[in-house]
Subunit: 333 residues, 2 copies
């Protein structure tokens, strides 16, 4: 578990998109986002106070989070002096980059010398169990997608927000690097060893109060030739009571697979439900989340209405319209 609150390191991000991890933290856990740290030439700006390391420490910051991704996921040499300064000032470091903090000899040595923690959320820090498939108490929702990168994390986070606003007990459960940095904990499922995938999700979503909802971030897609095994483990380890179908209308092909079309929402509903009911016969599909990025408000509303009519399920773009209707559908289960 990563200690909060955070100083968000944006480095020399060439644009706002490169700082999407930091943006996610600011959007979803604003109480963790005390300030930002930008190097010369940084083109991203979260609208947070620019703090020096010393100022951040004064404000109670515990961890510097690398909130920027660059090509290749490397730790840029130009960042090093700031990272070392942060360690010296008493901060831990957290990163979701492919190249690990712990594999940088200067950082590893300094952290060891000073007793600081380097959180590399790209890889697991826990030895997960083999899944036992036993029924757990509490309720679970899983976001499943027609494809990768269709908004499963945002959907689960939006539903958490909507549920909490209704006074419901709800916890977003991160299964990817960005989600882990946003919330400070979770399972980096794509880096787990095959035999332990489903077990890692049982570990992530243990017994809970009967009226508590775990809102599990989805990964991949049952229809994605590269990652479907990861998704399958998530469905069987998560044992969801409810599924929300996530989709991007009009995407030309499966992400990274030019030879594959996206499945229909009907096909996703049928396969995901069939598979989920192996471990939870009561599982239901409760709603649909469309990612309408790039559409006008009218277009977005129109496609949600059309989909809702066709599928007979509440359909929203939760980022644009809020997730109240999805939360209501879950509450009604």
């Amino acid at each position: 578990m990563i200690e909060t609150p955070y100083l968000l390191f944006l480095g020399d991000a060439p644009d706002g998109l490169a700082a999407k991890v930091a943006q996610g933290i600011k959007d979803w856990r604003p109480e963790y986002a005390i300030g930002q740290f930008r190097l010369e030439g940084c083109k991203a700006d979260l609208g947070l106070p620019d703090l020096s390391i010393a100022e951040a420490v004064d404000k109670g910051v515990k961890t510097l989070v690398i909130g920027v991704a660059n090509r290749g996921g490397i730790i840029s040499p130009s960042w090093k002096s700031v990272l070392i300064e942060a360690l010296e000032a008493g901060l831990d470091l957290a990163s979701g980059l492919h190249n690990l903090l712990r594999n940088e000899p200067d950082l590893a040595e300094k952290a060891k010398e000073l007793g600081r923690t380097l959180h590399d959320v790209r890889i697991p820090s826990v030895q997960y169990p083999i899944a036992n498939g036993k029924k757990r108490t509490g309720k679970r929702m899983l976001a499943v997608g027609t494809d990768c990168s269709v908004g499963k994390m945002y959907t689960a986070l939006c539903v958490e927000k909507a549920m909490r606003e209704k006074g419901m007990k709800a916890t977003f459960r991160a299964t990817g690097q960005t989600g882990i940095l946003v919330t400070g904990e979770g399972v980096p499922l794509d880096a787990v060893i095959a035999d332990f995938m489903a077990g890692s999700i049982e570990y992530l979503t243990p017994d809970n109060e009967p009226d508590h909802w775990d809102l599990i971030e989805g990964q991949g897609s049952l229809f994605h030739a590269s990652y479907s095994g990861v998704t399958m483990a998530l469905v069987h380890g998560g044992q969801p009571d409810a599924l929300v179908l996530c989709h991007v209308p009009n995407r030309p092909h499966m992400r990274g697979l030019p030879d594959y079309q996206l499945p229909s929402l009907e096909a996703l509903r049928d396969l995901a439900l069939q598979v989920a009911r192996i471990v939870n016969p009561a599982c239901e599909v409760v709603g649909i989340s469309l990612n309408t990025y790039g559409m006008s408000d009218d277009e977005a509303l129109a496609i949600c209405r059309e989909t809702e009519e066709r599928m007979g399920l509440p359909t929203v773009d939760p980022f644009r319209h809020g997730a109240e209707r999805l939360a209501d559908a879950l509450a009604a289960l």
Copy 2:
């Protein structure tokens, strides 16, 4: 790739079952099984010549294979002097045990000093790619099961034998530790990192001659809550043209999951085919392999006939009846 032929090390195996890896090599690659090595008190006997290390070297043996599994998968201290002697005599070592040869300091040091290879087939030795889902040339069969440990490896090996006897081009593709030791190569799928599972199977079954069959060993089951993700990756990475359904009649519950019943063969057929057709729309179920261990010959024949009639598919226990009918069904595709 492990150098052949082998000396099969049976250690102090308490019974024949403990030596099932060695038995598998002797059954399926008799040309690799030059001799056996047994310690005092060993209760297993493959009926092979008992050879000293020096005799094995004289007969051209290249690798000593640990063909015995003990509780906990450890490398017994009582084995050490033989393993060291083998390294000194010029042999490599191969093991599928959970505890790795390379983590035994005495073995690692001796192997390094002498330039020998320690093959730990429990874990991958290759950095596998992410699957690209592209259509490959050649044909592929995958054995899928209603459960774990229903005879998927034996089915694929039996089909390979039957096809080769018919003069067809066929290669068994190992996806588990025993299969890898039997054939000398393969992918230890249960130890692969989640993101690379499907890619490892694409790597294992590359482009081939149009009339060549890869016979892919199955793992887990789409219906097994602990391992279904592994199976899903196998279906999507393998892109099978044909599926053989594997089943043990009358098993009381899913292996390791007392709360779960086995699915019917109909349910397996429907789900496996639906999932396989995402990556290969032409995929067909061609036959059924029943594991009739413990039944009389009459009982075994009766259940195969009954199943064949019900499912409309050639049904055999390939270990008892041979796999000619499955090979014929594949040849007819």
